[in-house]
């Protein structure tokens, strides 16, 4: 590969990391301080931890990016090379192994932030929480993946390279679905609590029906049955656009997962909102706030704290269940693994690696959810 190309890749990794780190820190700051009423202390030095977290995380991602590049490609540099432009190559190659690199990089970011930030739940008398030892588990799995790929590049490095596209597919199918699930779940949850019996009835039927049908069957429906229904409808109405309709596998997978998980999520939201005492809504309304304002400023910020653990669980379940989309023509990690196995006949190694990659993602997500939970807790 051209040095120029490598350099540009390296910059992409760097800038991507920088932007992500910045966004994360800003989001955390705004969220913690404004919405959740957490105190950041010591008060005057609020900026320093963010800069620290930013720089630390960046350096960590960069160095490990380089290291991963060295470890996981066939490139074996000399000492001199490492200190020169070739390091850029290492970092550039890091995108090969997005997950282990960023898993570790972000673990580092979060650790540094956690160490430095001194965010503490309101009214808590304990000293600020320092390091979450469970990150070690994430790092251990990360090292296991790296180690396997380093010491036995054949087949492990080949497997990872082969399922690489699948990792991306799994990540974005999960993230997009989850984003939509958060929105539609909220609508469903509010619908379940609506005073209007028609709205409430519709929401209830939706939730009950969806929860009674296996996810896999629902995915099959959206991919195979739904397009066929559309076509028949097109023939019936003589609309050419409908007759020509072809289902997009990823679109249908996202639709199917969203439709299903939003039902579960609406129950989570409902329980969360119901757990906030009626007096809160009454106080807000008696001050002249509308229902929507009261929800937005008073009820939901409190409900968020309550529902964070179950929402985190839903995310992790969704991440795992996204492997089901492999049966409806989506080339996710699981499907890529199956394809690899079919042409190489090494099931044990293949599925070990795929399992480890899933484990890495879920453990990592769990830690993040847990971290957010820690600092949004309200002491009662």
């Amino acid at each position: 590969m051209e040095v120029e190309q490598l350099r540009s890749m390296c910059w992409q990794v760097l800038i991507g990391g920088l932007v992500a780190a910045l966004l994360y820190n800003v989001a955390l700051f705004v969220y913690a301080q404004r919405r959740l009423g957490l105190i950041l202390r010591p008060k005057g030095r609020a900026l320093r931890p963010y800069v620290l977290g930013l720089v630390g995380g960046l350096v960590f991602s960069f160095v490990l990016g380089g290291l991963n590049g060295i470890l996981l490609t066939n490139w074996r540099p000399t000492l001199v090379e490492i200190s020169t432009v070739e390091l850029v190559r290492g970092a550039g190659e890091a995108w090969l192994l997005f997950l282990p690199v960023f898993g570790l990089g972000w673990a580092a970011v979060l650790m540094v932030v956690q160490l430095a930030i001194n965010v503490q739940p309101v009214g808590s008398k304990d000293p600020p929480k320092k390091l979450d030892p469970w990150w070690l588990m994430v790092i251990a799995v990360d090292l296991l993946v790296l180690g396997l790929a380093f010491f036995k590049p054949d087949p492990f490095q080949r497997i990872v390279s082969y399922v690489r596209d699948g990792i991306w597919v799994t990540i974005y199918v999960t993230l997009i679905s989850f984003f939509l699930v958060l929105i539609f779940g909220l609508l469903g949850g509010l619908g379940r609590l609506a005073r209007n019996p028609i709205v409430r009835g519709a929401a209830t039927i939706y939730v009950e029906v969806i929860r009674g049908i296996p996810v896999l069957v629902q995915l099959m429906f959206w991919y195979f049955a739904f397009p066929s229904v559309i076509k028949d409808l097109g023939k019936l109405l003589q609309i050419q656009a409908l007759i020509d309709y072809k289902a997009n596998p990823v679109g249908m997978a996202v639709l199917g997962l969203t439709f299903c998980y939003a039902a579960y999520m609406s129950e989570v939201y409902r329980a969360g909102i119901q757990s906030i005492s009626k007096g809160q809504m009454e106080a807000a309304r008696s001050l002249g706030m509308t229902y929507v304002q009261a929800m937005r400023y008073v009820i939901l910020p409190q409900a968020v704290r309550v529902i964070l653990p179950p929402v985190g669980n839903e995310f992790i379940t969704l991440l795992k269940d996204s492997s089901l989309v492999s049966v409806v023509a989506v080339a996710d990690m699981t499907r890529r693994g199956r394809e690899f196995m079919a042409s190489n006949f090494i099931p044990v190694q293949t599925w070990l690696m795929v399992a480890l990659l899933y484990l890495l993602m879920t453990l990592f997500s769990t830690r993040i959810v847990n971290g957010i939970e820690q600092r949004t807790r309200l002491e009662r």
């Binding site: 009423g37 309101v122 106080a283 008696s286 001050l287 002249g288 409190q302 009662r380």
Partner: protein, 243 residues
């Protein structure tokens, strides 16, 4: 101007089979302080909550400051004119004391942040806890929380304040600090409807006292008359129980 600021006419309210208000009529004049007493379950809270429409009523009419409680827009208009203080304080636990008082000023009254904060700090001064602006509700004592709740309601510049047993959830030593704030408010000419059995407050501030029983107003008289020389048997009976 002389027209009563609250006009309640023949209001009925049922909760399923329970007939909580049985045709209540009541006028409250501008600047008047009305105390409501009565046994538990007699409909005091329900009446109060009907005034700012936290509770819908089945029959009758209520007009507050010339605005009839009918359309959603009118109900919100009335709510911004009527402050309410609850037995359980109902402060927003996720917001600091200051933000509790600032929030509705910003989103309902559309005030600038500076103005809202200024106003909030002044009100905290007035209720006697200027140093607690950055504290969170759950870090405060009950009496302090209730005073914040009063400040929060006052921040909207209401014309009427409703108090539903504001001191019932407080430890005895904290009752007086809340009553002092209420008495001060009454002196300033605020129109107040107060459900409370605190005789001290009634003597110091009330213009009228009302006894409710079984969803009806039984007696309506100046406080010294109602407490010392009640005309109704039911009032005598009730007073004998609480005194």
């Amino acid at each position: 101007m002389d027209e009563p600021i609250i006009q309640i006419r023949n209001v009925h309210k049922r909760f399923g089979g329970v007939h909580a208000l049985k045709g209540v009529s009541l006028d409250v004049k501008r600047g008047e302080v009305v105390v409501i007493i009565g046994p538990s379950g007699s409909g005091k809270s329900t009446l109060l909550r009907c005034i700012n429409r936290l509770e819908e009523f089945d029959e009758g009419s209520i007009v507050v400051d010339g605005i009839p409680l009918d359309t959603a827009a009118n109900i919100n208009a009335v709510r911004t004119e009527v402050g309410m203080v609850f037995q359980q304080f109902n402060l927003f636990p996720h917001l600091s004391v200051l933000e509790n008082i600032v929030l509705a000023q910003r989103v309902v009254r559309k005030r600038s942040r500076d103005e809202a904060v200024q106003n909030a700090l002044q009100l905290l001064e007035k209720v006697g806890i200027p140093d607690k602006a950055d504290a969170f509700p759950l870090q405060l004592s009950g009496g302090q929380q209730q005073r914040v709740a009063i400040a929060r309601a006052l921040a909207m510049n209401p014309k009427i304040m409703l108090f539903d047993e504001p001191t019932s959830a407080l430890d005895p030593e904290m009752i007086q600090e809340v009553l002092d704030v209420m008495v001060e408010l009454a002196r300033e000419g605020m129109t107040m409807v107060v459900v409370s059995h605190e005789m001290g407050f009634s003597r110091a501030a009330a213009h009228r006292a009302i006894l409710m029983d079984a969803g009806q107003i039984v007696e309506d008289a100046p406080p010294d008359v109602l407490f010392n020389h009640p005309t109704q048997e039911r009032t005598k009976l009730f007073l004998s129980k609480i005194l």
